[in-house]
């Protein structure tokens, strides 16, 4: 059974490699200012959401050569695609051409993987003036949704220098998880039972937040991204020693936080401010909850795919 793919496509220089490096915590590839297009498929050998593999493709660039190559490899590229993420550079001066390539990709998707989910990221929004951002984004969104018919595309505006990138990818992951609503209910129950301040569910490879329950309000809305960045840096350090990150416990007089493997696709983070609860108790509860959540995940895997065109 061939692995399903996540295609990350866009014009050369639109920010795909940086994005991949940030989301998947890889050291960034040497020459991001390539003079030529990416010919080779860049596989990231990461199990993303269990059974997805990320492929990165440049679209456009060296006209004729690219078109030919593209044409001959098309079926190969676009078969078995679960998700297409297309990146647009908001600063691009060649809007017509960008749309042209985008439409070519859509045609290929329609032919080879009509069930795929389409996401469009309007990227590098930090280069646009703040008061113009909404306007420009809405304009592009309308345009893209019109062009994408009969397929549906979900648009996000992103920049690596604010929280929008993390949020966009978290939304994408959220939409890809089959029974996310049930997961959220269970998570809330779990939090109530163990009397935690907050429980987070992270995707395993990217530490994107899939779902969270907040029983005590927290003033910092950026905390998910910060925790994710910290853990990804830690994973980078671990990889230097050829070690795998498994779990973490952080404790002081005000709180205790536990990060541990949960199901085969997720990590859980439990934060409790009641310092009288011994660690062993919380860890035991987490271990017991694991079984329930794994059952939930197995159920969804065995169900016929509920992912269709949104």
């Amino acid at each position: 059974m061939m692995k399903k793919k996540v295609l990350l496509m866009g014009k050369s220089g639109s920010g795909k490699t940086s994005m991949r490096s940030i989301i998947f915590a890889n050291y960034i590839a040497r020459d991001t200012r390539r003079l030529g297009a990416t010919i080779d498929v860049e596989h990231s050998h990461v199990r993303f959401l269990g059974n997805l593999v990320l492929n990165l493709w440049d679209c456009g660039g060296q006209e004729a050569f690219m078109e030919n190559y593209f044409a001959s490899q098309r079926d190969n590229i676009f078969r078995n695609v679960e998700v297409l993420i297309y990146v647009f550079d908001v600063e691009s001066r060649e809007l017509e051409k960008d749309m042209h390539y985008y439409q070519s990709c859509l045609e290929a998707i329609l032919q080879n993987s009509p069930e795929a989910k389409i996401f469009c990221l309007i990227h590098k929004m930090d280069l646009v003036q703040e008061d113009q951002r909404d306007l420009i984004f809405r304009e592009r969104e309308e345009n893209l949704q019109r062009l994408s018919k009969p397929l549906d595309c979900t648009c996000f505006r992103t920049s690596i220098w604010d929280e929008t990138l993390y949020k966009a990818w978290s939304s994408i992951v959220y939409m890809l998880i089959p029974n996310v609503k049930e997961l959220e209910c269970s998570l809330t129950n779990f939090a109530d039972i163990i009397d935690a301040d907050e429980v987070l569910l992270f995707e395993r490879a990217t530490f994107l937040v899939i779902s969270h329950t907040e029983r005590r309000p927290h003033r910092d809305p950026h905390r998910f991204e910060k925790v994710s960045n910290i853990i990804k840096q830690f994973k980078l350090s671990c990889s230097k020693l050829a070690a795998q990150f498994q779990s973490m416990e952080v404790r002081n007089s005000n709180f205790a936080a536990f990060i541990d493997v949960f199901t085969s696709n997720t990590y859980v983070m439990v934060v409790t401010s009641d310092s009288t609860i011994p660690s062993a108790a919380t860890l035991m509860n987490m271990k017991n909850a694991r079984k329930h959540f794994e059952k939930l995940e197995k159920l969804s895997e065995n169900q016929p795919s509920s992912m269709g065109v949104r």
């Binding site: 960034i28 040497r30 991001t32 600063e91 309000p217 950026h222 005000n254």
Partner: protein, 572 residues
């Protein structure tokens, strides 16, 4: 497991800070073509501070109250930006080189890190103009040797003295310049801080130990000199106040010679080295001495009182408080210059070149001239910090010129003060004391002011000297500048004991200065810079060096050795 985690997390934080160097910190907005060209020119011209948020001591419940750092509330968005910044720095990895990817652009850095642009001003570059550098060099070299310069010139004879000053200044300038040149080749590349590191790099462990040892010796010598002077000033000041309180008559306290009482000047008895027998016969145990004189005694008790007074000060963990008084040093130099000028104008010139029996006879050359050269090795000594000072020069290519101007100014100052005092001194020339204030009576107003002021100034410098000495020794032996209070305390007690012993048994500033100057000068002024230059020259030229390099520097080292040996030949 927990310990490994600590180590790894520590590493990741450090790594993300370490990759932050000034050139990589300037980001361009995006890796598109326009970003490429401006980057290199901007590397030199920094318009913002490095992006770094301090770790704040967060209030108890961080979830609810905002964090205030440096009284600037960093909001959540800025903290989030900083978190991203650190993470992306990490992702750039060790081999990224000059690549633009994931560099933070200027428009994302919080505005507090930028310097406001004020038209017509030059942005803060942290560099100083040549004039300021020259002044800094002059200021660093000017020290208490000024008080001993007249005595030293008297020891050498007039012409010998003047030419010796110029010759020594030339040699010291040349060796300091050698250090600068060698540092220019290796310092930036190897990230060396100063002269001792340079020694360590080029000469290995031996070089490092030698430089630490002799640096410690020179600091010890300087401390002993400071101690003698401080005890002297303290003694005279308190005795003056005491006499002022106890005498009822308004007349001046009687001094030995009447004809010089107009100048408040006198010729003190030569100090015999204190031995135990003279101690026993001295004022403390003599029956006729007053109680005050028994308690407050220059030879024995005052140095000990000073020790009790200063011991708590030098045991402090950090000496930065005392650096605030740095300006006093400059003021004291100018005061001494004004003092000598005033006195000289009052006395008028008193010189006699041919008649050897006259009290004003000024020989052109005396056999004691090594005393001057020994003292000058310490007076013109800058070599262990010349790099740090010259590094801040705005135009580095002018370093040689600026350093030479500074040395000329220093030589002229010493020359001027020393020669002026020497030529105008109205008593026998060989009465000039190695601490020129000793020649003045206790009640002379200008002298009283000088003593009080210098006492205060030295009391703020001595803890700094002790601190530097302590950190060098402790770091060399224990690899930490503050291993524990007991270490520091015992070291300080040893230091003070040595100082007190010098003050009691050898309170002669001139002797201490010339010996420590010659010894430390041999290593730091003559030998090490020459060796460094020769080693670096050979390294640059594949192990070859022309004969003149060896000869010239060999001569310099020979001068240093002769200087040291000659100190033992000087008669008091």
């Amino acid at each position: 497991m927990i310990r490994d985690v600590d180590a790894i997390l520590q590493d990741s934080d450090v790594a993300s800070e370490v990759t932050l160097d000034s050139s990589s910190d300037l980001g361009r907005s995006s890796p598109t073509s326009k970003g490429l060209l401006v980057r290199d020119s901007n590397a030199k011209q920094r318009t913002r501070r490095p992006f770094h948020l301090q770790n704040a001591i967060a209030p108890a419940n961080r979830a609810e109250s905002p964090v205030v750092i440096d009284s600037v509330p960093y909001d959540n968005a800025q903290e989030a930006t900083y978190s991203r910044y650190k993470y992306y720095q990490r992702l750039r990895g060790p081999t990224i080189g000059n690549d633009q990817a994931l560099l933070i652009p200027d428009h994302v850095v919080p505005s507090v890190f930028f310097y406001p642009y004020i038209p017509g001003t030059v942005p803060l570059t942290g560099k100083q103009s040549s004039l300021i550098t020259i002044f800094a060099v002059w200021n660093t070299m000017m020290g208490t040797s000024l008080l001993s310069m007249p005595w030293a010139i008297e020891q050498a004879g007039l012409v010998a003295g003047l030419s010796l000053i110029l010759v020594m200044a030339a040699i010291c300038f040349y060796t300091a310049f050698c250090i600068l040149q060698v540092y220019g080749i290796y310092g930036e590349k190897e990230n060396l801080a100063d002269f001792p590191d340079l020694c360590m790099f080029l000469l290995g462990r031996v070089g490092q130990w030698v430089s630490v040892l002799f640096s410690a010796l020179s600091l010890l010598g300087a401390s002993a000199v400071y101690w003698v002077l401080m005890s002297n000033f303290l003694y005279h000041t308190v005795k003056y106040v005491y006499d002022l309180i106890t005498t009822t008559s308004v007349t001046l306290l009687s001094i030995d010679d009447d004809n010089t009482s107009a100048f408040n000047l006198f010729c003190p008895d030569p100090i015999d080295n204190l031995t135990f027998s003279s101690l026993l016969n001295g004022p403390i145990f003599q029956n006729g001495a007053s109680t005050f004189d028994k308690i407050w005694n220059l030879d024995l008790t005052v140095p000990i009182y000073m020790a009790l007074l200063l011991l708590p000060l030098i045991c402090l963990k950090s000496a930065t408080f005392f650096t605030k008084f740095n300006a006093l040093g400059t003021v004291s130099v100018f005061y001494i210059m004004a003092f000598v000028a005033t006195k000289a104008s009052q006395w008028g010139v008193h010189v006699e070149f041919s008649d050897t029996s006259s009290p004003f006879y000024v020989p052109l050359l005396r056999s004691n001239f090594p005393a001057l050269s020994g003292m000058l090795s310490l007076a013109l000594y800058l070599h262990n910090c010349v790099v740090s000072i010259m590094k801040n020069n705005r135009r580095q290519e002018c370093n040689g010129r600026d350093l030479s101007i500074a040395y000329i100014l220093v030589a002229l100052t010493y020359l001027g003060i020393g020669a002026t005092f020497y030529l105008t001194f109205p008593l026998e020339k060989d009465c000039i004391e190695d601490n020129l204030l000793n020649n003045f009576s206790r009640s002379d107003t200008l002298t009283v002011i000088a003593r009080v002021f210098l006492l205060f100034q030295m009391m703020t410098v001595f803890p700094l000297l002790a601190y530097i000495l302590r950190t060098q020794i402790l770091y060399a032996f224990f690899n930490s500048i503050y291993p524990s209070f007991s270490h520091v305390f015992s070291l300080n007690v040893i230091l003070l004991t040595i100082c007190v012993v010098f003050a009691i048994f050898l309170p002669q500033v001139g002797t201490i200065t010339r010996f420590s100057g010659a010894l430390c000068g041999l290593v730091y002024v003559f030998t090490l810079p020459s060796i460094l230059y020769v080693v670096s020259y050979r390294k640059q030229n594949n192990g070859q060096a022309p004969a003149w390099v060896y000869i010239l520097h060999g001569l310099i080292v020979l001068c240093g050795i002769l200087n040291l040996i000659a100190q033992f030949v000087v008669t008091n």
